[in-house]
């Protein structure tokens, strides 16, 4: 036999449904597609039944009995590939013919039977009305121009005659269509009831009944099965299709090279003998299936439900860690799992580790979406790396227009999406059958049509505008720029939406991996290299040249040798433990490549779905409206929200509160063990030798973890009355305007189901929870016997555990409840970003009014001078302004005063109010305050800096460091933004004329800074209510513990200067769409090298940092100034003129005599003010001449002087501190 065929192994699962299995009414939850009802104009249901509906009665009658054989297609055939151009996923065609061969040994005699499964048979092609031509599953006709129902799949019994492929009679056969998703159902190839006689064959065993033996039912038998699959048309073979499937082959792969194709498919070919391979065949076996009609339920890995633990959290890691911590009684073990899952294991040993880990985990509670773009002109990447910061690039004047267009475009796209959803909702609801509307309901068809038309027109207009904007944006790309520059689009901060809650289960009885590891490709075989020997009972058995087989006429040639192999293995299965031995030691007991998935039969348990029904009770964020009469039902403690125990809507259900019921279903995955395994694998790469072994062991352990995880898919959508699980067809008539939507509105035709809650907050418990496997076998985890379900209390992550002191209703035990704290269900983001230092414009808008100081958010710099007990103040570019210090007034009061620094251009803060308004505001507000305030301010800065970690202190080599760590005054904008207009309620009573939502006016506290976090740079901030100028009358500081009292006592007559940030309630911002957004401007006092964090719990923690190059440039210009007086020293010089006030030090022949400080860090000079009139003083700047022991009779008489020692950084940077 030539090796033109590649034999790809398939896993064959054989479910024995004997009487005990069939009669157990709790054993299965099976349902099948209902396309007929989906297309029925009177019902328009989803294509798949809702959870817990339309379950099949399998226990009545004996029709379900027999052996259900399901072949699991190789991963490569079930994986969709995204076409980036069209945005659509392509699934490869799959084999559409399968031969099922059964060897049955009954009463010592072995017989053979066979069937051909005609997987892509369609009822619409039936030759006559005979029921044998009934298709087995509801389907959509793939050839019809409009959605049309059909039925798919049938089996041909080879006992009734040989197989004759109908395609051979067809002069113009139509292209094949069968894929793993069938008519668009992701579970089509996986869930047995979806694909009877397609990828599943039920062997009823009725042919084994022997009337001579009086068999009323199929007698006990030992069975072995083989399935062999192929494409009826070689052109459809995956090896030929693969090059045509977008994104299947990796970049650089040669589509004509079979080795590349096979590698992309994850299939290994023996000995690289791929030269002659032309097509694929698929083969699998189920050996030693023990059929006993009256026997017990066969043993399987299906647990009994009581041993299964499940945990809930906001994310997989959250729930997984809670489960591990509970099982091991160790919170640290939970943290380790969390850290490994997020790839933050290294953080565990750092000082900020727990905080970093918590932040990483909280990020995973949300999913991000694009936040728009911003354009900048940047230097093209240099050919050679350089450490020198790139000079700031002046931005062209047209850039503002481009960014305006882009912002308008981004906003327009969000608005378009909302309008399209509205149009789709209105259209969808209008087209629903009348019986889906609530009763009573007055459907005003004219108004409905009018609104659809109006929204359609708005969409058309907006689409046209967006097209124009896109064209305008594209035109900017053609602008001429110098060769070294380019226009670059950078993403704006992402929007976030909370993820659905996650359930993690342990002990569900599966260790089936998510997929084959990349390094273990599927071992395929060739026809010339099948098993040539197996050892059975001490004797070698070789394949028979003509094994017992069904009629193989018209079937692939390869079937016969594969059946011979089945015959050998079946014999082994019937001979003591021969098969067990062979499977355990194939290399010793067989010759020839051992087929993958060959094992001794065991009743399968293959968890696939999680299905649940919950009862949900809303605990709204706020009650009573947004005005004074309303009140929040939740309190933010600076990290998390806590429910106050108020605001539960009254209702008629349990406890007198209002409940809604939500049922859902989603695919289970071993995602947790997969991620942990992959993270352990990543660690292997850089691990020291002594850890390698342990990491490998860990990896193996993760492989065997019996842990499944799944999000409660659709939960958030359900709360805003959207249904993403419905299988519906998009109406072509509306497609152009409304776009493709994978959701439909759930308008609550039953008004009792209304629950629109755009700010998710509430508690729920499970009334039903099932794990359902590929065959529909169900494992019940929660019983729902009455209104108080008897269930194991789930393990809950701290993030979803309600306060036991605050039950939903009196007497309620909180063990079963899962609490969901407030979350916006609309995409939102925190805008916490630096703005221009003087006029607060966005930093992007720099080109319209170029600033000589540069594009900087730093309003000024502060340096605490411990030597002089002063606070030095510098302009954004590092030029000197003045110093704040405590003086004693004539009246004997000690108060804060301002002195200008050497070479400052301004005398008093009021003088530079127009140029550096925030530094002026800061200084003016301090001047005149008492010494205690100054002392506390200095202490505040000092303590904060001693707490704040400088991420790379070695990189800051500026001389200013000699005095201390600089403090930046950063201008920032803070706001919460919603993506697009607010969500609206799609309920029937609201859809046409939606009420305005109040949630955009809710106020959400934002806590800035993190006292306990070393990597948070905030020292304090000044702010005012939105719309007002920033007030410098009060500094808000993140302080905890013993220092709190000091601030509380530092109250002045005009109110305290210091205020504690606490939980952040002082800054409470509404989350609104961009066109109504509210911004608050702040001046942050912060370490310039360390980010400042904004925590809301509502959204992931956001941080703000200053561009490192800006910081470096400014700090390098700062001259360290040390007040020195009185200094008795002579000067040998000519007096400088007024014009030289800002010049560099005079030549060395004139200078002041004094002991000269070390020149290691740069040049020192002496600056002292000259007497002047109004305006800033003139300064003389004298070099320091070293005092010596010689006589200088010509020198002037030494005078007592007051001035500053100044350190000048060297231009070449060599004077930088190290």
């Amino acid at each position: 036999m030539t090796d033109t065929d590649l034999i790809v192994p398939v896993e064959l699962h054989a479910l024995v449904a004997n009487r005990a299995v069939r009669a157990d009414k709790d054993r299965f939850k099976r349902w099948s597609p209902m396309f007929t009802m989906m297309l029925n104009e009177e019902f328009k249901t989803s294509g798949e039944p809702e959870p817990y509906e339309n379950l099949q009665d399998y226990w009545t009658g004996t029709g379900f009995e027999g052996v259900h054989l399901q072949w699991q297609l190789p991963e490569a055939l079930t994986t969709g590939h995204l076409d980036h151009d069209s945005g659509e996923s392509t699934f490869p065609l799959v084999p559409n013919r399968w031969l099922v061969v059964r060897y049955a040994t009954v009463r010592g005699a072995t017989t053979v039977a066979g069937w051909v499964v005609h997987s892509d048979y369609l009822s619409s092609q039936r030759p006559d009305a005979n029921p044998i031509w009934d298709g087995s599953n509801s389907y959509l006709n793939p050839y019809a121009a409009t959605a049309t129902t059909d039925r798919i799949g049938r089996a041909h019994d080879l006992a009734t005659g040989p197989w004759h492929d109908p395609r051979e009679d067809d002069p113009a056969p139509r292209p094949l269509f069968l894929t793993a998703i069938g008519s668009g159902l992701p579970a089509f190839a996986a869930f047995a009831p979806y694909h009877r006689n397609v990828f599943l064959f039920q062997d009823t065993l009725q042919d084994l009944r022997d009337r001579q033996h009086g068999d009323n039912y199929p007698p006990d038998a030992m069975l072995s099965y083989a399935v062999i699959g192929w494409y009826s048309d070689d052109d459809a073979d995956i090896l030929r299709q693969a090059p045509e499937i977008p994104d299947l082959l990796p970049p650089g792969a040669d589509p004509g090279n079979l080795v590349d194709v096979l590698e992309a498919l994850g299939w290994a070919v023996p000995d690289c003998a791929s030269g002659a391979i032309r097509r694929t065949r698929y083969a699998g076996t189920a050996l030693g299936v023990d059929w006993q009609r009256e026997g017990l339920v066969p043993d399987s890995d299906r647990p009994d439900g009581t041993s299964t633990k499940f945990a809930l959290g906001h994310s997989t890691a959250d729930a997984g860690a809670a489960l591990v911590a509970q099982q091991t009684r160790s919170a640290r073990d939970g943290d380790l799992i969390k850290a490994l899952f997020h790839g933050e294991l290294g953080a565990m040993d750092s000082a900020d580790g727990p905080i970093d880990l918590d932040e990483a985990m909280r990020r995973s509670w949300f999913s991000g979406s694009e936040g728009g773009s911003l354009w900048r002109v940047v230097n093209r990447p240099a050919e050679q790396d350089t450490d020198e910061p790139a000079p700031e690039l002046p931005q062209p004047e047209w850039l503002d227009r481009l960014n305006d267009h882009q912002a308008e475009y981004d906003q327009g796209m969000a608005e378009l999406a909302r309008l399209q959803w509205r149009l789709w909702s209105l259209w969808w609801l209008r087209e629903l059958p009348e019986k889906r509307r609530p009763k009573p309901f007055e459907f005003d068809v004219a108004a409905w049509n009018g609104e659809i038309t109006a929204v359609g027109e708005q969409i058309s207009a907006l689409q046209a505008t967006l097209e124009e904007l896109q064209t305008a944006i594209d035109e900017f790309a053609d602008r001429e720029l110098p060769e070294t520059q380019e226009l670059k689009r950078s993403p704006q901060p992402s929007f976030y939406r909370p993820a659905d809650p996650v359930i993690v289960m342990e002990g569900a009885g599966t260790t089936q991996p998510l997929g084959r590891p990349d390094d273990q490709p599927l071992p395929c075989r060739l026809p010339s290299a099948l098993l040539t020997r197996v050892r059975i009972g001490g004797a070698d058995v070789t394949p028979a040249p003509d094994p017992p087989a069904p009629d193989l006429t018209g079937l692939p040639e390869l079937c016969r040798p594969l059946i011979a192999e089945l015959a050998m293995l079946d014999r082994a299965a019937r001979t003591g433990s021969a098969l067990e031995d062979i499977v355990a030691r194939p290399a010793d007991l067989t010759d020839g490549p051992f087929p993958e998935y060959t094992r001794v039969w065991r009743q399968p348990w293959l968890p696939m779905y999680l299905q649940w029904r919950i009862k949900y009770c809303a605990t709204p964020f706020r009650s009573g409206g947004t005005g004074q009469g309303g009140s929040d039902n939740w309190t933010f403690d600076g990290d998390d929200y806590h429910w106050n125990g108020t605001g539960v809507p009254e209702g008629d259900g349990e406890g007198g509160v209002r409940w809604t019921s939500f049922a859902g279903r989603s695919f289970l995955t071993p995602g947790l063990s997969y991620v942990l395994r992959e993270q352990a694998k990543r660690k292997l790469a850089g691990a020291p030798d002594e850890l390698l072994g342990q990491l490998r062991l860990l990896q193996d352990d993760f492989d065997e973890l019996d842990i499944l995880s799944q999000t409660l898919d659709g939960f958030n959508d359900w709360l805003i009355q959207q249904n993403g699980a419905a299988q519906v067809t998009t109406d072509q008539r509306i497609l152009d305007l409304a776009g493709q939507s994978n959701h439909v509105p759930d308008a609550a035709g039953d008004r009792r189901e209304q629950r629109f809650q755009p700010v998710r907050a509430g508690q729920f418990y499970f009334t039903e929870l099932h794990v359902i496997d590929r065959f529909g076998q169900a494992l019940r985890l929660v019983t729902a016997l009455d209104s108080q379900p008897a269930q194991l209390a789930p393990v809950r992550a701290a993030s979803v555990t309600p306060d036991p002191e605050k039950p939903l209703f009196p007497g309620a035990k909180t063990d079963r409840f899962i609490q969901l704290p407030p979350r916006l269900l609309q995409d939102a983001r925190i805008r916490f970003e630096p703005v221009h230092h003087s006029d607060d414009r966005p930093l992007a808008a720099v080109s319209s009014a170029p600033d000589p100081l540069g594009d900087t958010p730093v309003a000024g710099w502060l340096l605490v001078n411990h030597l002089d007990q002063t606070l030095l103040v510098y302009a954004p570019d590092g030029s000197p302004l003045g110093e704040l210090r405590v003086i004693r007034t004539a009246a004997g009061q000690r108060e804060i005063a301002w002195n200008s620094l050497p070479h400052a251009r301004y005398d008093e803060p009021g003088d530079f109010e127009g140029v550096y308004p925030h530094v002026a505001g800061f200084a003016s507000e301090l001047v005149g305050r008492d010494a205690d305030t100054f002392g506390l301010l200095m202490t505040t800065i000092d303590r904060a800096l001693s707490r704040i970690a400088d991420p790379a202190p070695e990189e800051d080599r500026t001389p200013a460091r000699l005095i201390g760590r600089p403090v930046a005054m950063i201008r920032a904008r803070l706001g919460l933004e919603l993506l697009g207009p607010p969500l609206t309620d799609p309920a029937w009573d609201e859809a046409l004329r939606p009420s305005a939502q109040e949630y955009p006016d809710y106020r959400w506290p934002v806590r800035l800074g993190a006292y306990e976090r070393l990597a948070d740079g905030l020292i304090g901030y000044y702010t005012s209510e939105p719309g007002q100028d920033t007030s410098y009358r009060q500094l808000h500081v993140p302080v905890q513990g013993r220092d709190t009292a000091a601030y509380a006592s530092a109250a002045a007559d005009d109110g305290p200067y210091f205020s504690l940030i606490g939980t952040g309630a002082g800054i409470a911002m509404p989350a609104r769409s961009v066109d109504r957004s509210l911004s608050r401007y702040l001046t942050l006092l912060a370490c310039p090298h360390t980010a400042v964090h904004a925590t809301t719990d509502l959204l992931p923690v956001t941080s703000l940092a200053v561009d490192a190059d800006l910081t470096h440039r400014a700090l390098a210009a700062i001259r360290a100034s040390f007040r020195l007086n009185p200094l008795l020293a002579p000067v040998r010089s000519e007096e400088p003129t007024r014009g030289s006030a800002r010049s560099e030090p005079e030549p060395a022949n004139s200078g002041i005599f004094m002991p000269r400080p070390s020149a290691l860090h740069g040049a020192w000079s002496w600056a002292e003010p000259l007497v002047s009139g109004d305006g800033p003083p003139l300064w003389t700047d004298l070099p320091i001449l070293p005092a010596d022991d010689l006589s200088h009779p010509d020198d002037p008489v030494p005078a007592a002087r007051a001035g500053y020692l100044q350190l000048h950084p060297r231009a070449d940077g060599q004077g930088e501190t190290r």
């Binding site: 209902m34 817990y52 009545t60 029921p131 019986k435 259900g653 409940w659 729902a784």
Partner: protein, 164 residues
Amino acid sequence: MTLLLPYRVDITPGPATADDAPPRYHQLRLTVGEEGQGRAEQPVRCTRIAVRVPAPTSDPRLARQPLAFSTTVPSVRSSAQGQEWWIVPDTTDPAATVFACVPDQPARFDGTWTISFLIELDPGFETTDVEITEETAADNGPVSNRSSRVAATVLAAGAWEGQE
């Protein structure tokens, strides 16, 4: 019009509740075609059967609660038996819930087979009187709607079966 098909409705009270709410009939079984005699000569073509279950009225609290239900459809053998059946609930009317039982293809009841639909409802219902509407035709004539009230048999709670 008189119903062409024979029906039997069994209802089984759900488990006792903790409070003083009226009895809840949690499970309803509708059996169709259980007649046996004489039908083979004049089979009935059926395209739909609807069961209308009034909401509990003695306790308005029950009527105002959202419903949770499970439905189970029979497995049939061939296209002549409808191929597959579906139950589609209609809960839009707070006064009654309607369950439409629809075959994938028109079913031909000839007396040789029966089917049963199982409906579990929470909160349940308290009446034993349900209204059945069928879309049927004798011979090959057009289908038409026929309605009638059917009194259910209340089974003992121990006979409760199905989901739980």
